[in-house]
């Protein structure tokens, strides 16, 4: 069992070991959906929601698999839970806000293959978090993902007006900004104490 304090887990997942900028999880939406601040916020919300549900379900599944002694089913059952949660979120968003559904487009079903979510569930199992710790870990990771996405979107909106050479435009520029953001976030590692 792990007895880290809850706020420590939250801070750790959110800033010190930011999922996007330190673990490189969820790079695809980070590069793909970070064009506009508005879309980025909603994407962050959707991912956080899926993370929260997956973390709780993942905790339950892990306990069950330990009980029936079948660790090799871990990966398969996790991915099934995540896929069904994403399906659920997709239906909710389609019903509640068709315009958001349009804006997120292909990236919504792709949350299933967002490594940040599977990564979260796997890490939480490895670290042996209990239910509350898992919830806080998921909240922190979701917040961290949203922050990274928002920062990126804000910077990219500014860069629209900058004159850059043609060969740098697009992915290269995004990656360079990502690198600088990642360097910046290293500053938080001092918080670890």
């Amino acid at each position: 069992m792990n007895n880290e304090p809850l706020w420590g887990i939250f801070l750790n997942a959110c800033l010190i070991n930011n999922f996007v900028l330190a673990y490189f999880l969820g790079i695809c939406p980070f590069l793909g959906v970070s064009g506009k601040v508005d879309t980025a916020t909603k994407m962050g919300g959707a991912v956080t929601f899926v993370m929260l549900i997956s973390a709780v379900c993942g905790y339950g599944i892990h306990s069950l698999l330990v009980f029936i002694d079948a660790p090799f089913l871990q990966l398969i059952s996790y991915i099934v839970v995540i896929a069904s949660t994403v399906q659920l979120v997709e239906m909710i968003i389609k019903k509640m806000s068709p315009s958001l559904f349009q804006a997120l487009g292909i990236f919504l079903p792709l949350i299933t293959t967002n490594c940040a979510i599977l990564g979260l569930v796997l890490f939480q199992t490895n670290k042996g978090y209990d239910l509350f710790q898992s919830v806080f870990y998921a909240l922190g990771a979701g917040a961290g993902f949203t922050i990274a996405l928002l920062l990126m979107a804000g910077l990219r909106e500014q860069m629209e007006f900058a004159e850059v050479p043609n060969v740098v435009k697009g992915t290269v520029l995004t990656l360079l900004i990502g690198g600088i953001l990642s360097l910046t976030f290293m500053g938080f590692s001092g918080l670890n104490g």
């Binding site: 999880l25 695809c28 090799f72 792709l110 299933t112 599977l118 290269v172 990656l175 990502g178």
Partner: protein, 212 residues
């Protein structure tokens, strides 16, 4: 939905080598399609990690492409994505245990990223765009091409990052002791910068080619 991802119908007879070459260069998963970026950035801090990751991914890609192509007429359209993911997850579980059996050290340094092959967009996109529509033979060539192309891309990053970050290559020291390590290269930020550098090289190469 599949209209977006649909490939052009085959034109020439000798297609199998084309499928292979395509993955290596013209549609290289790392440099051209920019797919499956998480492992590309995360485990390329040394060349040997990059190679192991590339081979593991190629294996999963090959096996899942074969199975999906073989089952393509039996999987109902509505549940195809879930079925693909289940097939992929099975092979990833296998390779996870295989790597653990070969070298515990390697397993430790790759960590959760072996399990995360499941959510590598490259594998799912090949399953959806290619294996579900083509014969087993062609799918094998496609998987091999993409797998080798992916491994090549990972190696490109791994070599640069290990050389500059810890002055060695595959664990052997290359640069003399006086060489100051570029610590940033083995940190996460180095991954972003190295990938940006390689994409830049590719872009310059491409724009020269089109202008001439």
């Amino acid at each position: 939905m599949s209209t977006v991802l649909e490939k052009e119908p085959p034109k020439k007879k000798d297609l199998s080598t084309d499928e292979f070459i395509k993955g290596l260069w013209k549609e290289n998963p790392v440099f051209v399609q920019v797919l499956g970026m998480c492992p590309v950035l995360a485990v390329t801090n040394t060349a040997s990690n990059a190679l192991a990751m590339g081979l593991a991914t190629a294996f999963v890609l090959l096996m899942s492409n074969i199975l999906i192509s073989a089952l393509r007429n039996f999987i109902p359209k509505q549940v195809r994505i879930s079925s693909y993911i289940l097939i992929i997850a099975t092979f990833v579980t296998i390779i996870d245990y295989v790597i653990q059996a070969i070298s515990v050290e390697l397993h430790k340094s790759l960590g959760a990223f072996i399990s995360l092959i499941v959510v590598n967009c490259l594998i799912l996109s090949r399953a959806e765009a290619f294996a579900s529509k083509n014969t087993i033979g062609k799918s094998i060539m496609d998987a091999l091409g993409m797998g080798v192309g992916f491994t090549f891309g990972l190696l490109c990053l791994g070599v640069v990052r290990e050389l500059l970050g810890s002055k060695s290559l595959f664990g052997f020291q290359v640069f003399p002791d006086q060489f100051q390590d570029w610590i940033v290269m083995i940190l996460p930020a180095g991954g972003f910068f190295t990938l940006a550098f390689w994409l830049l090289v590719f872009n310059i190469f491409k724009s020269k080619k089109t202008s001439s």
